[in-house]
Symmetry: C2
Subunit: 229 residues, 2 copies
DNA sequence: CACAAGTATGCTGCATGCAGAATTTTGTTT
DNA sequence: AAACAAAATTCTGCATGCAGCATACTTGTG
């Protein structure tokens, strides 16, 4: 049987958004992924199966399975005989990923203009307006989360599952870095302006314009982030 | 210690292209992936840990870890309590994936024009010429493999690792389907014509043209494949 | 004869044990 | 005191054992 602590882990995972049948595997994956994204596990850290397992209250077997999963996602690396290490992204890695992300979001924007319903677009507009509120208040964390939500929403509105899945993998790799690198008032203002254009293009269903904005927005993100790496 | 059969599995894996230090994990992943791509494991098949493990000569533990890895790659699905199943792709899944692939290859083409050396382009030309030979002989399998190689080469020449990695995941999901659906002499001729244009655009380093060809080529691939699903 | 309930088998998911590699500590020599 | 060597410890990688769930089968009943 799964231990007490493991049951807790599953419950915590399930409470984020109840799944048909939450599994320990998924719970561990989600937890370790968060630990990486939130910076609890610093890049370069060697993951000690014994300690980490005790910490999470699971035995080494399901933990190892979860780690292999995260290796495949590109968040961890495997050194034979030495276990898993939190992957370190070079500046080039980040740049490369942002180029691809920009391209994927550009595609998503184009498809979203085509496939989204009016109601769905209105929902994105609401997210956008709430985000602008947070910007007025200079409330960084909720701004950041809403920002992510908007990008995810556009991806979802593309109605292309393959696109959503590859995007989310790349996105997860950079999540931490993007959060770190979100500095400077004038650059922030620039990002906000981009978002204003975005929502307008989406409402006008102007596929080419939205696509362009999203791609260029990502290039600017690189400018914002590059010094933080 | 890893069993005799396991050692054999590793050796076989290593012989494809010797790695610094081949691991059993990688060998199992590669083997099962191939079994799926080559159709030995039909979509929908439930993977029996006991049998499959015996078949490959490994115990359940490393096998399960490998399966989790393949789940993350999207080749398998997990039903809680019922283990791993070879993922079944719907027509929409394939179409969605091809759209994304087309976009990624388009990006790769653009980057390749920018970053590839002349020598590298000459190598692609050689692959192309060999592929044309195979077309003349109507020798399907080597043609297919060279075709894949050319596409992979363009990806590599983009010098963008993130791009290579997301592309290869998506590519692996469709590899089997693309092979199946490569039928009909007139469509084949069309694909060959596309490739002729591709190599010309690459040699001319005409980024926009190459990008366009690659994206459109993928749309045509859908036409070739759609009836086979 | 059809169908449902109970039973039996088999499989997954998790824990633990063990061998060998990696690392650290300790001891020895210069 | 520093550098190297050897022993001891720790950790990974793999195998196996066990509990609980899923499924198939059997048996009883309408």
């Amino acid at each position: 049987m799964a231990s007490e602590a493991a049951a807790l882990l599953i419950e915590e995972f399930d409470s984020r958004g109840p799944i048909a049948r939450p599994t320990l595997h998924d719970a561990i994956v989600a937890r370790v992924r968060d630990m990486i994204i939130e910076g609890e596990l610093v890049p370069g850290t060697r993951l000690h199966e014994g300690n980490l397992g005790k910490m999470l209250g699971v035995s080494r077997t399901p933990l190892r399975e979860a780690l292999k999963f995260l290796v495949s996602e590109g968040l961890l690396e495997l050194s034979p005989g030495r276990g898993a290490v939190v992957r370190q992204f070079s500046a080039k890695d980040v740049h490369d990923s942002l180029i691809v992300l920009g391209n994927l979001e550009g595609l998503a924007g184009r498809l979203a203009c085509e496939h989204a319903t009016d109601a769905e677009i209105r929902e994105v507009r609401q997210l956008h307006d709430r985000m602008m509120d947070m910007y007025e208040k200079r409330d960084r964390l909720p701004y950041f989360k809403l920002n992510q939500n908007i990008h995810s929403a556009i991806l979802r509105l593309s109605k292309n599952d393959a696109l959503v899945s590859v995007h989310s993998v790349l996105q997860a790799r950079l999540k931490r870095i993007r959060y770190i690198g979100n500095e400077g008032p004038e650059k922030w203002a620039g990002a906000v302006a981009d978002h204003e254009e975005m929502i307008n293009a989406l409402e006008a269903r102007d596929a080419e314009r939205l696509s362009k904005i999203l791609t260029v927005h990502m290039e600017k993100t690189w400018e914002r982030v590059r010094n933080a790496i």
